[in-house]
Every structure is written in C-alpha cells, then in structure tokens.
Amino acid sequence: MNELFFSYIEGRSVLHRLDPRTKLVSVMLLSVVVLRASSFQDMVLLSSAFLLFALLAKQGIKHHLNSLRPMLLFFIFIFLVEVMFSESEGSFYLGPLGVSYEGLWKGMLVTSRFILLVLFASLLISTTRPALITLGIERMLRPLPLSLLGISSYDLATMMSISMRFVPLLHESLQQITEAQVSRGMDLRRNPLKAIPSIAVPMIRNTLRVTEDLAMAMESRCYQGAYRTSMLELDLHKEDWLSLLMLAFIIILFFYSPI
C-alpha cells in the first residue's frame, strides 16, 4: 500500500473540521490567485499562506512535498519548455541553446505556480475525507441545471472524487510495473525508446481494467447516482465564515497590495 501522498490523513485540526465547501471554494479562489501571480512578492505571499495552512493542519510539510514527487518530471518538462521557448534573445549559451535570464525567470514562475497548485490541492485532500469532498462538490453543483445535460450533480461529484482517489492507486500500479520491468533489465536512461512502451502498455491496460472492475463493482452494489441518500449532512459553522473572511482578506491584499 502506498498511502503517502494525495490521500486523507486522519486528524482533528481546524482545517479538518472546516466544511468541505469552505475548503473547496478556498482552493478554487487560491488557484485563481496562484495562476495570476506574477511577481516574486506574490510567490512569497502565497508560499507563506501555504505554510500557514500546513501548520494549521498539523501534518508536517513532508507529506505535501511527497505529493509533488510523482509530478517531478512534469515540473521539469514545463520548466524546460518555458526556458527554451521564451521569446527574448539568449544572453548565455547552454550547449546549443540560447537561454535568457527572462526565460529562466518565466520558467521558474510557471513551475512554481504549478507546484503551489498541487500543494494546495494536497492540503485539501489530506484534510478532507473523500466522501465529504464528494458531498461538498455535489451540494455546490446542485443549483446548476445539469439535468439538461443528462447527468446529475451527484454523478459529476462522484466522478471527480473517484478520479482523485485514483491518483495514489495509479502511482502504485506504475511503481509495480516499473519494478517488474527493471527486474527484467529495463533501463529508462539508456534505452528510453524500448523502456517507455514496456511501462505504458501495461499501465494503460491496467487502468482500463481497474475502471471496468470499479464500474461493475459499483453497479453490483446498486449504485444509482442521484437517488442516493447521504449518511452525512453539511452545516456551515462560525469557523467557516471566519476562514472565508480571512481568505477574502488575503485575496484583497494580493490584488491591491501596496508593494
């Protein structure tokens, strides 16, 4: 079992007790802010906000940093793309590549935006039971006229929370397949052309099989989407209003900051 990242961790902190809707709205708003962040100060402000929240969640930064690990390649990739394809003239050369300081800065900015997004998402997931996330999303989507599209808010919420639940599972299966192929002498660095299909093919087959199994398991347990009743009820408390207020304050500070 690999339960080390992107999964719920039992706890009793303030963040655990907040209503899932509060946390969902907060993460969405914070994501907008993160994507608009463009200066060094912005990044410092947002990172401090993250540190503050992590402190409140009483889980240690380590867990959240672990969530970044599976996406390391992706971060490196977007960093390199940004550095290589930024417009301005190269100011120094790395091999045949012209690299400008501006490109470097842009690469770092874009990469740190993604890192912050993942960190905030990790915070949400580690402090909220999956069932509560689903319920929160469902309640928030209920006013939308989704039935016109032939789906219910409940279906949509279930799909979202299941996909989130699958992240650690997929990572575990990736690890198993990699171990099996490494045991057969696969070498990703020396021979990527041969190594990548040897991981990708079983991975895709696995994923398809797991989703099929899950769908069947849900149906055989009489999953019927919208007709479900819920075991949990949601209520907004004083803490929720307080944290939303605090968040509003951070965002105002961000957009109208005097610095």
Binding site: L4, I177, E179, Q181, S183, R184, P202, R205
Partner: protein, 275 residues
Amino acid sequence: MSVIVENVSFSYARKTQLEQMVLDKVSLKIGEGEFLVIMGEVGSGKTTLVKHFNGLLKPIFGKVTVDGYNAASVHARKLVGMLFQFPQQQLFARTVFEDVAFAPSNFGISGEELRSKVSWSLKLVGMDEKITSRSPFSLSNGHMRLVALAGVIAASPKYIVLDEPFTGLDPKGIKELSKALAQVHAMGVTIVVITHNLDHVLPSATRMVFMGQGKIAFDGTPDNYFLSTLPQIPDIPLLMRELRRCGVKVKDQIFDVEEAFQEIMRIKRMGTAHE
C-alpha cells in the same frame, strides 16, 4: 556462491508518521541449487524481503550480496530473475517472442543466440513453440504466467524469485507452473518461492522459511516444519503427523492424496495380515 542477507532491517515511509519496522534484523543465506519456500502471515514482510535480492529495495541497516556482488549492482540484477504476483501485468510486447526476448536483449543478447534462448525458455516452461507469434494478451491467465516465467528464464539467471506465483490460477495452471518450476530447478537454477499454499511446491522444496512480523520464525526442512506448531501446514502432512502421533507407522515424504491413500492401504493390508 549464494545470496547472503546479513542483519537486514527495513521500513517504508522513513521519517513520517507511517514508519514501521517491516524487516527486523533478518539474516538468511540461500545456497546454490536450493528450492526455498518462503511462507508467513499476511504483511509479515515476505515481499519486502525478496525485493532486496535484486536491489529494488535497499536495506536501511545490514547488507545483501549476490555471489559476492552488492545486490543493487547491475551484475547482481543479471543473476537474480524476479517474477511478481501478477506477472501478466508486465507483458507488453506485440508477440510472445518479443516479450520473452525483452530481458535477454536488455542484457545485450541478440540475433540467433536470442532466438534460441527464447525458444529454449518457452520449451522449458512447457509452452508450445507455435504461440511465439501470438499476442501475449490473447493467452489464458495460466499461460500468460508461464510466458512471463519464460521471460525471466530467458535472461539465464542463477536465481529465480517468485512472489505468490500461484494466486488466481486454476488447478491445471497450478500444476503446469509447479512442473515448470521443478524443471527449471532441475536445470540447476536456485528457486525462491513465496506462497501461502505449500501443497503446490512441496515435492520440490528443499527448504522452508516461515516469516512472522518481520523476523524469520522458522528455517529448516519441510519435514521439520511439519513437526513444528506453526500454522499453514498442508492437510496431508498434517494428517500423516497426527497418524504418527497415534502410533500408526506411516512413511516419511508423503505429500499428496494419492501417496497417502497408498500408504494407508499398505498399513491396512499389514493389519489384516497379522490377524
């Protein structure tokens, strides 16, 4: 020449709240030509232990060597072939031939040598040559596993480690696989098998290790194991042990229903002859 595990300790998720000792100062020496069966409770660290044999996991304390090489070295990895619980998950190539050829070609074998290696290992596990051009995904569950085993054998390892290879196979698949294992063992390859059901490998097993909570609780011959009070003793040896305890003089080395039946009939005949 052997696999030597010296005082190995290991835990997952180091320095987090989830850390727990999975292997606790385990020492084990696996000699050439052995057929070692590893049994033990769920979560006792069997899989964790064998992943040290080819360096997939590295010990926190202690040392693992294979024929004198560090287990994490490329050299050791060539010596140790590993087959995981659902080996069909590792199949990926378009044809059975390509899949079996994956390991040896990674270790630098090509051309005619590769071709003969592949057909040799398929034959060794009892697979028909005709399937080489088929897609590995078109095979039955049991045959997929035999192909995966052939894929490990094709790299000519000295040691083959199998983690619960029998799970999910039907009786016919189990029989084919255990026959293949006995055959590979007879070729001089050292075999290490993790299993919950000793029945499947009993006739070939030369040694038994039982793990409990990260430690080795028993290490000895299958016969001694049957005399112990450990759980998971298969039915027939258990029956023989109980008969012996009641004074019935049954022979050693009786593992399956057929042999037990013959033995009981023999004793019955002796009994009637006395009267």
